[in-house]
């Protein structure tokens, strides 16, 4: 087997072992699901209170019916979970390389089995595997908990089906796909910060700070913001297509999605990912470790 590939595999196996035994990796996988489960419970309790009040007042109707449809909650859960997951992944990515450099653990990898570039690529892949686990768990949790608290079904008003389940599923699929596309670039951004920073604390703080400030920065960029991968990522200030899907599956027909925006969402994160990975591989060769 090629020496570089062998080194990469060893580094990856080492990264996976470390992830298995460290709390921060488990937090990345579990926290979004735990958080949205709590969110669903709070929303359900608040809805139950409102329903009791409306029943006493003899009110109710479309809004109550819409609120009872699990699809809206399912999408809300995905949106919240992916916002949190995006931030957690950026933080974890920023922590990954820098903490190993701080502790000196990175040195053993470099001396014994892997090149610097192989270590960075192994960390990137490990973070993507963590993200994949977290996303699968998030989708399953969001679906199962919303199903247990509400009912999945088409959006119906006055006996007329406004949006069928097939259409809802297809919109959710598209929203999810578009929300997931920028995640690899977000991870690569965290890794780049990790490689550049002088310490783990500096890396995590800088990566999170920059991620949050990008939302503000995008407002100043106008049209050019569409060429920034982070525009399409579910975030605290911005809206990803997933948030629009949340409104769509609640029967709001005024959701107008710019086709150009959707197209950009599909390709902009990929060159961004490439640029960030290449920059990380370049910088890591220059750094003292």
């Amino acid at each position: 087997m090629n020496l570089a590939v062998k080194g990469f595999i060893k580094a990856l196996r080492s990264e996976l072992l470390i992830a298995r035994y460290t709390l921060s990796a488990w937090l990345v996988v579990l926290l979004p699901s735990v958080f949205i489960s709590l969110q669903f419970l709070v929303v359900k309790m608040s809805e139950t209170g409102a329903a009791a009040r409306d029943s006493l007042l003899g009110q109710g109707g479309f809004d109550a019916m819409i609120a009872n449809n699990a699809y809206g909650h399912f999408v809300d859960g995905l949106s919240t979970g992916l916002t949190l997951l995006g931030l957690l992944l950026v933080a974890q990515a920023a922590y990954s390389f820098s903490v190993d450099r701080d502790s000196g653990a990175l040195r053993h990898l470099l001396i014994r089995c892997s090149s610097r570039r192989a270590v960075v690529l192994a960390k990137l892949l490990q973070l993507h595997l963590l993200a994949l686990l977290a996303i699968l768990l998030l989708i399953a949790t969001s679906y199962l908990v919303s199903d247990s608290l509400w009912d999945f079904g088409p959006v119906v008003e006055d006996g007329f089906e406004l949006i069928g389940e097939e259409e809802i599923a297809s919109e959710i699929k598209l929203g999810l796909e578009l929300a997931l596309l920028p995640l690899p670039a977000a991870i690569a951004f965290g890794v780049l910060v990790s490689v550049v920073a002088n310490s783990a604390t500096q890396a995590v703080v800088s990566a999170l700070g920059l991620s949050l400030v990008l939302d503000v920065f995008k407002g100043m960029l106008g049209e050019y913001a569409y060429y920034l991968y982070a525009t399409f990522q579910p975030s605290l200030l911005d809206q990803s297509y997933l948030q629009d899907v949340g409104r769509l599956v609640r029967g709001y027909s005024d959701v107008l999605v710019d086709e150009r925006f959707l197209e950009l969402n599909q390709w902009v994160p990929l060159p961004a990912l490439l640029i960030l990975v290449v920059a990380s591989l370049f910088v890591v060769q220059k750094r003292k470790v």
Partner: protein, 306 residues
């Protein structure tokens, strides 16, 4: 020096930190199966030298080869080169056993089992402790265990005795000896602990002013150092005169410490003591100081480099 090609060679190594030139053409060669000590004052560049050898930082000029590999390609040696650093350099969130399992993943053919090295280094009872919760000494033991799982041909150690208690130092010294004698492992040890280096090393290199000021087999280096006798009496000036007349020497008293130093090759401590007492002097201290790495080190590092 051996005629075999060196396991590690450093030629004309230059390294600057800003304007400060820490290494000025350093040359060093590590013979196969040798235990080579690298000593130097604080800030003399010992750690920088090791980090350059290990490819952890760049250098300005020079050439480094370790088992035929350049410093950035040590991983191509597939675990035949390992290093133990002055800080534990292990993931603090793993337990000792988990950390050793990770080390197993880094080497092709593990020579030992985790339980075996834990027992060898006396850390079996800390097996399930996280690295961050261990004492400094046990962290160091764990990091040595981490390195020993593989079957290294060369081990580079930076300050290996820091933080170890007396028992721990003995264990590490015994381990180094065993590995060297039974498996022919070569060692490059950088340390301030001169007595330990003197005990264990076959070769010594003294790093001073950015260059290797002395580098040879330990016996040859120490053979070049004269043994001395330290004397303190109630009248050192008179004592110096008496000993000088007897041995044909001109002696000087160190005015700071009020101690008389005599070259012991000319006269023995028993003779000196007898004569001083016969002349009515009260001898409060008489110590035969053998030629040591410490005395050689002090002599070299107090002299400006030519």
């Amino acid at each position: 020096m051996s005629s075999e090609p060196p396991a590690l060679s450093v030629t004309g190594l230059y390294k600057k930190y800003g304007q400060f030139e820490v290494l000025k053409g350093l040359d060093l060669a590590l013979c196969p199966c040798a235990i080579h000590g690298l000593v130097g004052l604080n800030g003399s560049g010992k750690t920088t030298t090791l980090e350059c050898i290990l490819g952890l930082q760049d250098f300005d000029r020079g050439e480094i080869r370790v088992l035929g590999h350049g410093p950035r390609k040590l991983h191509a040696a597939q675990g035949r080169i390992v290093a133990i650093f002055d800080t534990p350099s292990l993931n603090p969130n793993l337990t000792v056993r988990q950390s050793l399992r990770q080390a197993l993943l880094l080497c092709d053919g593990a020579a030992r089992k985790p339980a075996e090295v834990e027992a060898q280094l006396g850390i079996t009872k800390f097996s399930d402790f996280k690295i961050k919760n261990l004492s400094l000494g046990n962290k160091r033991r764990a990091s040595i265990a981490h390195a020993l799982l593989a079957n290294p041909e060369i081990i580079l150690l930076d300050e290996p005795f820091n933080g170890l208690d007396a028992g721990g130092v003995d264990e590490v010294l015994a381990l180094i000896k065993d590995l060297n004698q039974q498996q022919g492992t070569s060692f490059l040890l950088s340390s301030h602990q001169l007595p330990y280096l003197e005990e264990i090393c076959s070769h010594i290199a003294i790093l001073h002013d950015g260059q290797i000021a002395a580098n040879d087999e330990k016996s040859r280096l120490l053979g070049s150092v004269q043994s001395t006798i330290r004397i303190q009496t109630n009248d050192n000036h008179r004592a110096a005169k008496i000993i000088g007349q007897q041995a044909g020497l001109s002696l000087q008293t160190n005015t700071n410490t009020d101690i008389l130093l005599v070259n012991s090759e000319k006269i023995g401590p028993a003779d000196i003591n007898r004569q001083l007492v016969e002349q009515g002097l009260a001898v409060s201290e008489i110590v035969a100081e053998r030629a040591s790495l410490d005395s050689l080190f002090r002599r070299i590092t107090q002299e400006p480099n030519p």
